[in-house]
Subunit: 504 residues, 2 copies
C-alpha cells in the first residue's frame, strides 16, 4: 500500500473538506509528507487557522504509520508553519501568510497578449469589441440596451426558484429537451399570446441563451441573403456574416423600415426587423408596412425575423402587437428576458414556423445544447405565478416616469434638442441641431463620466445612395441607471448638452 | 385618439395581467372590439372563468366610450362566449373551450422536416445525433456520462441561491466579466488547489457553459494539430474539426494514452487527455507519462488540454491529482459541474496558462458572452459554504457502493466478464469473452429496455495500424439511475449478460 501512495499525490480529508497533498518526489515517507504539508500551507491551500486532522486520522487516511504523520506535524511546528496546543489540536499558524498571487489582473483584460504560436480562428473582432464596450464603466451610464438591474426582483425570483426546483422532476437535472424545458415553453406560449398577440404553440418555441444565440442558430438555416434595418446593432451583422449570410441594408424612415425596397433586392429572402420599436430610432413599423412584409414573405418564400426586444414597455394607447400574428408561418418571433429582467440571465425565446423547428434544432452544436435548466424552470414559475406581469408593470411605470422627466428636462434646458422615439422602450433619440457633431458631444459627455451613444454608431456601413439619412443625434438609454442615480445622470446629460449646444 | 387605436392591436389589463386584443380590420369600434374579445376567448388567450375588467375600466384603458365596451360584452354574452352575473361581473364562459393546439408534438423531434428552401450551414451532424441519443429513454439507463441527478442537492442549492442572490451587487445582473463572475472564479481557485492540486489564479479561470463550450473556444486558439485519445467522445473530434483543427489519434493502453507517440507526430502541438481516469477505458495516466507529456509540451511549444471530467470521484488511496500542477504554463485544465452536480446546470471551468487567457476571451462570439449569472453566483456560494464538499463526499460513497455491488454481482453471475477501470468515476469497462459481439449484447440489452454502450462506439475512426486494440467490451455507467432504480438496472444487466454469454 505504502509503495503505491508514495508515487502519487493524495487527497486527504481536512476539516470536512478535501485537501490535495503532493507526495511525489525524493525522500522517505515522512519527508515527502512534511514537504507536501509545508507546500499546502505556503501556497495558501491550507489557510491560516485551519485545523489539521488528528495524526491518527490522517495516518489511517493515507495508509501510513501514525508516528510518520506525528513526526511531520512536529517538524512543521518547529519550523513555525503549524501550531500545536493542548485541547485545540494542530492548526496552521496565523503568521503563515500565503504567497501573493503571481499575476494580479486589475481591470478588464486587454487584447494585446497572444499565446506564442497560437492562431486565432474566430473572425469576430467587432463582436468581441462590442462585448468589451459593455464592460466599460461610466459614472453615469445612459447608453441604450440595459434595463435598471438594481430593480431585479430578487426575492420574487428566489420564491419562484424554490417552488420550481422543489417541484421539478429529477430528469430536469439530467438531459433536457433541446427546445428548452416544456414548463417554460408552455408558460411563454400563454404569456406571448396574451400580452403580445403571438400565435405560439409550445412545440414551436425554442429557448436560447440570449437573442444572439437564437440569431446564430437561425443564421445557419435561413433562406437567401438577409436584409437588415440600416440602423441597428453591429454584432447582428457580424453573426450573420460569420455564418456565411450576406446582408443588405434596408433604409429606415419615420415609419420604420422601407419594406417596399425588399422587392428591389431579389436575392434577399430574409428580413430582420424590430417592428414594435425600431432599434435605435424608436419608431414603430407603420401598419401597412407590417402587412406588406408578410405579403413579401408569402410571395417569395421568404422569412421575417421579428426582434421584439422591448415590446413589453409601451407608454401610449397604441401598443403594437407582434407582426408574427399576421403570418405565423412566415415569421420567427424572438423575445428576450435581457430587457424585461436582466441580460445576465441569458434567456431568450424563439417562436418558429412549424417547418423551421427541426432544422433549427438540428443546427445546434453540442456547445449550444440547452440553456441552464434551473433558470428556465424559475422563469416558467415566475411567468405562471403572475410575478412577471407584476414586474413588467412596475418597470413600465418606472421607465415612463424617467422618460417624462427626460423630455421635460431637455425641453426646459436644451430646447434645441428634439426628443423622439419615446412611445416605447427604454431609450430615446435626441436629435441635435443641424451642424452639431455627434462625436464631439459624445466625447464631451465621456470626459464628464457620462456614457451616451451617437446614432451614427448604429448605422449600417454601406447605405444605398438614395436612403434618407437622419441628422446628428444621440441615443440615450434611460433604463440603465439605478433609481437613485437617475437624477444625477439626467443632470449630467443636460449640463453636457447645454455646454456643447448652448441653451434656449 | 380613437382614430389611432383603431388601426392597431392594443394591450389591456385583465385581472392584473396584460391581454392582447387585435383591434385591426374592418368595421366600427364596437364591432372590432367584439371580434377581438371573441378571438381571445376562442383561442384560449382568455381562459374559461377569467374575469373581464368592468366595462368602465376597459373603456378608459382603450380610450372608448363606456357604452361601446358594454355593447361588445352584451353581444358576446348573447353569443355564449361570456357570462354576466350580478355581483361577479363579466367572465369567460366555462363551456368556451379553447381550440385544440394545431400541432401536437409528442416525443423527441424528428430530423426529417426541412424548411422549404432552407439551407443547413451547420456541419455538426454527429454532434446533433449525440445530443439526440442522450434524450432516448430507457427503462434502465446504464449508459455512461450522467450522474444520479435524483440526488441533486435541491435544498442546499436553493439555500446557496438565496444567500448568493441576496448578497450580489446590482451589476451582477447587468454585464458580467467575460471570464465569469469573480465570486465563482475565486471559489474555484481555492477548491481546485485544495482538492485537485491545480495551480489556479482566479484571473486565469474562464467559466464556460459546459466542457464542450470550453473546448469550442480553445479550438479557435490552440496551436498546431491536436492529438486525441483513441477512445473518447466523438463530439469532441467534431468540435475540433468544425474549428478547422486536424485531429490525430493517440493509442490508449493499460497505462493511459501513449505519450511517447507524440514525438512521431510533428504537426501535433496540442494533446487532449483525460489523465485522472481515461474516458472510457478508466485507467489513470501512468506517472512517468504524466511527466512525459509536460516535457513534450515544453520541448515543442505545445499545449495539453486536461479534461478532468470526474476527478472528484476516486475510490482508492491513490487519487490522481491534476497534471496541470506539473506545468501550469503548458496545460489548460478543464473541469465541470456536469458530473459532480448536474449536466443541465451548464457550468464548467477552464484554468488557462497566463498567455492563453486573452486569446480565449477574444475568441468568444457575442453568443458565447457569459454563462447565466444566478447559477454562477449560486455555485460560488455552494463551494465556499462547504456544501459542494459535502455533496461530493455523499455521492462518492453512493457511487462506490454501486461499483462494489456491480463487481460482486458480475463475479457471481457472469464470471466470464472482467470488470476494469473502476478505481474512479461512475462507469466501468465490462470486458466480454473473446469472440463475443458487443453490438449483439447491446442490442439484446436494448430489447429489454436496458441502455449500455459498446466500447467500440467510442473508438477513433482511424487508429494507427500498430495500435493495441482492446477486445469486445461494454461501457457501463452505474451513476445514472436513481438510488431506488439501481437494483433493477443491475439485475437487468446481469440477466442480459447471462443470457447472451452464458453464466459461470
Amino acid at each position: 500500500m505504502a509503495k503505491k501512495w508514495a508515487n502519487h499525490p493524495v487527497v486527504a480529508g481536512v476539516g470536512g473538506a478535501d485537501l490535495y497533498l503532493d507526495l511525489t518526489g525524493a525522500g522517505g515517507r515522512r519527508e515527502r509528507l512534511t514537504r507536501a504539508l509545508r507546500e499546502a500551507v505556503r501556497t495558501g491551500r491550507l489557510a491560516p487557522g485551519a485545523r489539521l486532522p488528528p495524526s491518527r486520522t490522517l495516518a489511517a487516511d493515507l495508509g501510513l504509520a501514525r508516528n510518520t504523520v506525528a513526526d511531520a506535524y512536529g517538524e512543521l511546528v518547529a519550523e513555525g508553519w503549524l501550531t500545536a496546543r493542548q485541547g485545540s489540536g494542530t492548526r496552521v499558524a496565523q503568521r503563515a501568510e500565503p504567497v501573493p498571487r503571481p499575476h494580479p489582473r486589475p481591470g478588464p483584460p486587454s487584447r494585446t497578449g497572444a499565446h506564442t504560436g497560437a492562431r486565432t480562428r474566430a473572425g469576430d473582432r467587432e463582436g468581441s469589441d462590442f462585448l468589451r464596450s459593455l464592460q466599460r464603466p461610466f459614472l453615469h451610464d445612459l447608453r441604450p440596451g440595459t434595463p435598471d438591474v438594481s430593480a431585479f426582483p430578487r426575492q420574487a425570483w428566489l420564491t419562484s426558484a424554490r417552488r420550481a426546483l422543489t417541484a421539478a422532476p429529477a430528469d430536469a437535472f439530467s438531459h433536457g429537451d433541446v427546445r428548452g424545458r416544456p414548463e417554460l415553453r408552455h408558460a411563454l406560449a400563454g404569456y406571448l399570446a396574451r400580452a403580445r398577440g403571438v400565435r405560439a404553440d409550445p412545440g414551436n418555441i425554442v429557448i436560447c441563451g440570449g437573442f444572439v444565440q437564437g440569431l446564430t442558430l437561425l443564421a445557419r438555416v435561413l433562406p437567401g441573403e438577409a436584409a437588415l434595418e440600416a440602423y441597428g446593432l453591429g454584432p447582428y451583422r457580424e453573426v450573420l456574416a460569420d455564418a456565411g449570410v450576406r446582408t443588405r441594408p434596408l433604409p429606415v424612415d419615420a415609419h420604420g423600415a422601407d419594406i417596399a425596397r425588399l422587392d428591389r433586392l431579389p436575392s434577399v429572402r430574409t428580413a430582420l426587423l424590430t417592428p414594435a420599436h425600431q432599434f435605435p430610432t424608436g419608431v414603430p413599423l407603420r401598419p401597412d408596412r407590417r402587412a406588406a412584409v408578410i405579403d413579401w414573405a408569402r410571395r417569395g418564400d421568404g422569412l421575417v425575423l421579428e426582434d421584439d426586444y422591448d415590446g413589453e414597455f409601451r407608454y401610449d394607447r397604441q401598443p403594437v402587437g407582434a407582426v408574427q400574428s399576421l403570418g405565423p408561418e412566415r415569421v420567427c418571433y424572438l423575445g428576450t428576458a435581457s430587457k424585461s429582467l436582466a441580460p445576465t440571465l441569458r434567456l431568450a425565446w424563439m417562436v418558429l414556423p412549424e417547418d423551421l423547428v427541426d432544422p433549427v434544432i438540428a443546427a445546434k452544436t453540442p456547445a449550444e445544447w440547452i440553456s441552464a435548466v434551473p433558470d428556465q424552470l424559475t422563469l416558467a414559475d415566475f411567468i405562471r405565478s403572475g410575478a412577471y406581469d407584476r414586474h413588467l408593470r412596475a418597470m413600465r411605470q418606472r421607465y415612463r416616469r424617467r422618460r417624462d422627466r427626460l423630455v421635460t428636462a431637455l425641453a426646459e434646458r436644451v430646447p434645441r434638442v428634439r426628443v423622439t422615439g419615446i412611445a416605447a422602450g427604454m431609450h430615446a433619440i435626441l436629435e441635435l441641431p443641424r451642424g452639431a457633431q455627434e462625436t464631439a458631444v459624445r466625447e464631451a459627455a465621456e470626459r464628464r463620466g457620462l456614457g451616451v451613444t451617437a446614432l451614427s454608431s448604429f448605422r449600417y456601413p454601406a447605405l444605398p445612395g438614395d436612403a434618407e439619412e437622419p441628422g446628428p443625434a444621440l441615443v440615450v438609454g434611460y433604463g440603465s441607471p439605478a433609481e437613485h442615480a437617475f437624477t444625477a445622470a439626467l443632470e449630467a446629460l443636460c449640463s453636457v448638452l447645454e455646454a456643447e449646444l448652448g441653451g434656449g
